[in-house]
């Protein structure tokens, strides 16, 4: 608990995490407002309100990576390891705090998007009823939290803000979608790439007839939604373990 409190103080005594959170809310909710307001032919659905979720995800991952790379940049990681020589527990505490904050941002942007769409188009039926709708909205926080853990692990391994952020963005925006261009095996590889699998949790629907097809593109991963989330969580745990192992071996 002490270590969580330490990391909480650290995260919220600089301004950039709050700016990142505001930016994420602005982008995702703004996108939902835009779609609800501009598209006059069609009433917004739960799926269309969640269009901006992936943009917010990028911002949240940048926030999570910066939480650790700035410690390396400014040397506070040394002050931290000096105060708490047990590096694993310190980094796990940081990952926990960052994940909780990311999860909170996720819930705010997801429900905020639904709320703003309802506000703009009060006649739209935006009840969250089906299992799919619950995952698509409430599930955003879970995906954000796990993504934040992955981003923090990458930040710990790379230690430089610019390097970590560009790697994360290039990977999630380009690598996972371009990998399908590899002949023969490309699509099969893509089905198992972690962020694509995480997307399955949000967009996958066991009963497609209930779905509007105008939401964010569904994932082609073959796992069922909840197994997809478990797979993504396992990936986050592996990344964090590698980061902890490296941080313990390395000179601070």
């Amino acid at each position: 608990m002490t270590l969580l409190a330490v990391e909480r103080i650290k995260l919220f005594t600089t301004r950039s995490p709050l700016w990142c959170a505001l930016a994420a809310v602005g982008v995702v909710v703004g996108f939902a407002a835009l779609i609800a307001g501009v598209d006059t032919d069609q009433a917004p659905s739960i799926a269309t309100t969640q269009f901006g979720v992936n943009f917010g995800l990028m911002i949240v991952m940048v926030m999570a990576a910066l939480a650790i790379t700035t410690e390396y940049r400014f040397g506070t990681i040394k002050a931290t390891f000096q105060a708490i020589p047990n590096r694993s527990s310190t980094l796990v505490a940081k990952a926990t705090v960052v994940a909780l904050f990311a999860g909170l941002i996720g819930e705010v942007v997801a429900f905020g998007s639904v709320a703003i769409a309802k506000l703009i188009k009060s006649n739209a039926s935006l009840g969250i009823d089906t299992a799919y709708e619950w995952r698509a909205v409430a599930g955003v926080g879970l995906v954000y939290a796990l993504s934040a853990v992955i981003a923090m692990a990458v930040g710990t391994l790379i230690r430089h803000s610019a390097g970590a952020v560009s790697l994360l963005l290039i990977y999630t925006l380009l690598v996972e979608s371009l990998v399908q261009l590899i002949p023969n095996v490309g699509v099969d590889i893509q089905k198992w790439m972690p962020f694509n699998v995480a997307n399955k949790f949000l967009t996958g629907d066991p009963d497609p007839t209930n779905r509007f097809l105008d939401g964010p593109p569904p994932s082609n991963a073959t796992l069922s939604p909840w197994w997809a989330l478990a797979y993504f969580a396992a990936f986050a745990v592996v990344m964090l373990s590698v980061a902890l192992f490296t941080a313990n071996k390395r000179d601070a």
């Binding site: 600089t14 950039s16 410690e71 400014f74 390891f81 105060a83 020589p85 047990n86 000179d251």
Partner: protein
């Protein structure tokens, strides 16, 4: 009490610290002296468990740093005053440190008061001057009221007032019975600050003794003599077994008391125009002792420069 036994650190092919053994005792200020790049900071990082030694170990009151429970209560350290997030306030920085070792929040205000930063406690640390950053670093070191204190080049870049403040501060800490270990590349500074010295060069121990011993050992005293009858004086002194060196229009005598030279000249009827004791400078002595172990020699001869002008750094 800090005990290093056979401490070594290897970075690739270079041996930054080479089989270093020394003891730092409580109740006095111990200087850790060596030219830039001698391995002082590396040694300090190993004491704090930040870097893992390649060989040997270092213990604080018999324990390795990583075995300490709530280490800030045992060891306080200022290795780099810039190890603070520039957008975090001084108080917030100390607050998370205090929390990490379950220290009461009141300690934060206590140490801020102690180093005189109370008025600027809520300002962002990035806007601090070097002197203020240094004070914040010292406040962080004092937070846990530790028995052992480590300071790496604490006076580097400070103005005279700041230097004096830090020097007095360290003496006070040692007088309270704490173990104070301070590194520096300036012997003249250490001569004023430290009672005991651990001198290293190229990662190897050169000597561990009291500052007084080191200074008298290192600075050979000579006598400068000027006379219109220089040749006569030279042979007279030479007969006494002392060594004489010509320096322009004067002689530099070593191995003979100043009074004896005067009496000898009077006995021989040689008029003297000058007879003055020369004390070798601490800087010269230091360069002489560590000369072989300086890692990066300047292209110009360094002994022409006062030590303060030598490149500062970690």
């Amino acid at each position: 009490m800090i005990e290093a036994v056979g401490l070594s650190k290897r970075y690739g092919k270079t041996l930054a610290v080479d089989n270093l053994s020394f003891t730092v005792r409580p109740g006095r200020v111990t200087g850790f002296l060596g030219p830039n790049g001698a391995g002082k900071s590396t040694t300090m990082r190993m004491i704090l468990g930040l870097d893992a030694p390649s060989g040997g170990d270092v213990r604080l009151d018999g324990k390795k740093y990583r075995e300490l429970h709530q280490p800030l209560r045992t060891v306080g350290a200022l290795l780099d005053a810039k190890w603070v997030h520039p957008n975090r306030s001084a108080r917030a920085h100390l607050r998370w440190l205090a929390k990490s070792n379950k220290l009461p929040a009141k300690r934060v205000d206590d140490v801020l008061e102690q180093v005189g930063l109370t008025d600027v406690a809520n300002r962002r640390a990035g806007g601090f001057s070097l002197g203020m950053s240094q004070r914040l670093g010292i406040a962080a070191a004092l937070l846990g009221d530790p028995e052992v204190l480590l300071f790496d080049e604490p006076v580097n870049g400070l103005d005279p007032e700041g230097i004096l403040w830090i020097r007095r501060f360290m003496h006070r800490l040692a007088d309270e019975g704490r173990t104070v270990f301070v590194s520096s590349h300036l012997l003249s500074e250490m001569a004023l600050t430290a009672q005991e010295l651990v001198v290293i060069g190229r990662g190897k121990l050169i000597s561990q003794c009291t500052t007084e011993e080191f200074v008298s050992q290192a600075t050979e005293s000579t006598v400068l003599v000027r006379s219109p009858q220089l040749a006569l004086l030279r042979s007279a002194i030479g007969q006494q077994g002392a060594t004489v060196r010509d320096e322009g229009e004067s002689l530099v005598v070593s191995g003979m008391e100043i009074a004896d030279i005067g009496e000898l000249a009077a006995a021989k009827g040689i008029p003297l125009h000058e007879l003055s004791p020369q004390r070798g400078s601490l800087e010269e002595a230091f360069i002489q002792l560590t000369g072989d172990s300086v890692e990066y020699h300047a292209a110009v001869t360094t002994d022409a420069l006062p030590a303060d002008l030598l490149p500062a750094g970690k």
